[in-house]
Symmetry: C2
Subunit: 334 residues, 2 copies
């Protein structure tokens, strides 16, 4: 990008983001106590397609997926730094929409756009680094799960992957149906929400919280956490929360909803391990009649090198799944 | 990138970088006082070519250009986060070389690789966010230059741009000559050094230091700083430091050394404004017989909207320049 174009755009971005931290070689930031830092890239045609998302949603999602890393550790996001590599078909009005979406997500979670970088090239990519403040109650990490803990998941799984498949389907009538019938899945894919408030509610009420987000799929999260904590997990397949729309959309797409839940990724839910007493405290914090987004999906069964077993309970029929081969390739079935 | 490949590579990267901060959703970092943060991208065929750099040097430079942003504000770099978008021709052994170079630069300046991200795609790009600690004496910014201040530059200008032109020359005999005769320019381009220690030496001995780095060229730095401080600069063309090899290489390339110095960029030198008494204190801090890398190149002449005037002194002949048109397009000649 020509320097004069870049400088002009930076002035516009300052206006769009209302940020007074942009301008020097570095942003000057202050924190109380430990700082959480994470970085993530979104690359066109790998992580998103401009044919299936608006620039506003893309901006929103770029912030949300990074804030989710702060939620994973129960932190409070404070600032993001954003580097854009821009091809020439991304025009100033697109960038404006993108920054409006980015700002919308950031401002919902008290996060400021503190700096960034613009480069011209052929492939559109977005890199965000998020900085956060550790919660005063501590930092949730992956390696503290203990034998006897319950395994808790937030929300539901596979919806984002379903949304992805619907948006990229070659079946035009299914795509039209999806806007009406499967809008939940489309929204979960294009405009995910970081689980920040829930993560604070959990750290505030637990003595030992092991946690991460499920950005790379539930299977990855289960395997990573059991490995980091050197424990074994026993997960009840029947308890994996899958939204009604996800089940129906998977059926319309001829896909296995469990495969989507385990391997689809981009759900940005929380996976946590905690003692039964911590779990009771957290449950109590939801008001009566308030739907808790948290659910027990299994338990930590022993201290060892780390593995995940799937179990079958009475309520669950294996026939519910079309093809569990890929899942059982990675998990042990008992 | 397949998740299993990514996880395998992350394990390797942990070994290569000796970093125990990699692994959770976020790195947990501690700072005393204000934090400095900056982000920068290097994109293949925009910022570097694999035909003209080694992976080791590329890793070194990726760290160095980011650490230079911390030097620009007299800070102490502490951690970097690195996101790589990798095409399939970047193999594991290349990545290993890259991380060795990255680590070499980081460890020279007490900086740790605290986290990152790997993505597969077609275009190779590197994004680094650097976090630093503000110096106990304060933070040098761009907007504090005052009328009466001296304008000081470190090192010399245009060498990196000369290196770039030599490395990309179609004249094979010139390329061969360059390795012998112009090795300084090649090194300045492929393996720049951040001016961290010099920036600390300056903040420690000055009462009011306005500073930035010259990553986008001396012209940009002069214009940015005069604008940010709302002052006018008077810069003596004859005093712009240009290395003997840069002058000779520019002549061999049929390029104007001043154009390279002003617009070439990537010199990663420091541009500073300070009072005469601060300048005397800093000069005293260099040992006798020690070559100071700092030089007065002009003065701040008045408080206004910000402009840069170039002046001609007796020692300087306009004939030294082949074509000053582009320079005088942006500056006012008096």
């Amino acid at each position: 990008m020509e320097l004069s174009t870049e400088l002009g755009l930076i002035e516009e971005i300052k206006k769009w983001t209302h940020s007074d931290l942009i301008g020097d070689d570095c942003a000057i930031l202050t924190f109380n106590g430990p700082v959480l830092a994470s970085t993530d890239s979104l690359v066109e045609n790998v992580h998103f397609r401009l044919s299936t998302t608006s620039f506003f949603d893309l901006g929103y999602k770029s912030a949300a997926v990074n804030l989710s890393d702060i939620a994973a550790m129960s932190g409070k996001p404070r600032q993001i730094l954003i580097s854009l590599v821009l091809p020439d078909y991304v025009k100033k009005e697109h960038l404006h929409e993108f920054y409006l979406g980015l700002n919308d997500c950031c401002s919902r979670y008290d996060t400021i756009i503190a700096g960034g970088n613009l480069t011209s090239s052929t492939q559109f990519s977005i890199n965000i680094t998020v900085l956060g403040q550790a919660h005063e109650k501590g930092v949730a990490q992956r390696h503290t799960a203990k034998s006897g803990d319950l395994i808790i998941a937030s929300g539901d799984f596979g919806a984002s992957a379903c949304g992805f498949h619907l948006l990229n389907s070659k079946d035009e009538s299914l795509k039209t149906r999806a806007k009406e019938e499967f809008s939940y899945c489309l929204k979960r894919h294009n405009k995910p929400e970081p689980r920040l408030r829930l993560s604070w509610q959990m750290i505030e009420r637990s003595k030992n919280l092991s946690m991460m987000d499920t950005s790379d799929g539930l299977a990855d999260a289960l395997l990573q956490m059991s490995k980091a904590s050197s424990v074994s997990f026993e997960v009840d397949l029947a308890s994996i929360p899958i939204h009604e729309q996800t089940k129906n959309a998977a059926s319309a797409l001829d896909l296995n909803p469990f495969e989507l839940a385990f391997y689809g990724g981009e759900d940005y839910e929380l996976l946590a391990c905690m003692s039964e007493s911590d779990w009771l405290e957290i449950k109590k914090s939801f008001k009566e009649h308030e739907d808790s987004p948290l659910k027990v999906i299994g338990k930590v069964i022993k201290n060892d090198a780390g593995s995940v077993k799937l179990i079958q309970t009475a309520q669950f029929q294996w026939d519910d799944c079309l093809n569990m081969d890929r899942i059982f390739n990675h998990f042990e079935k008992i």
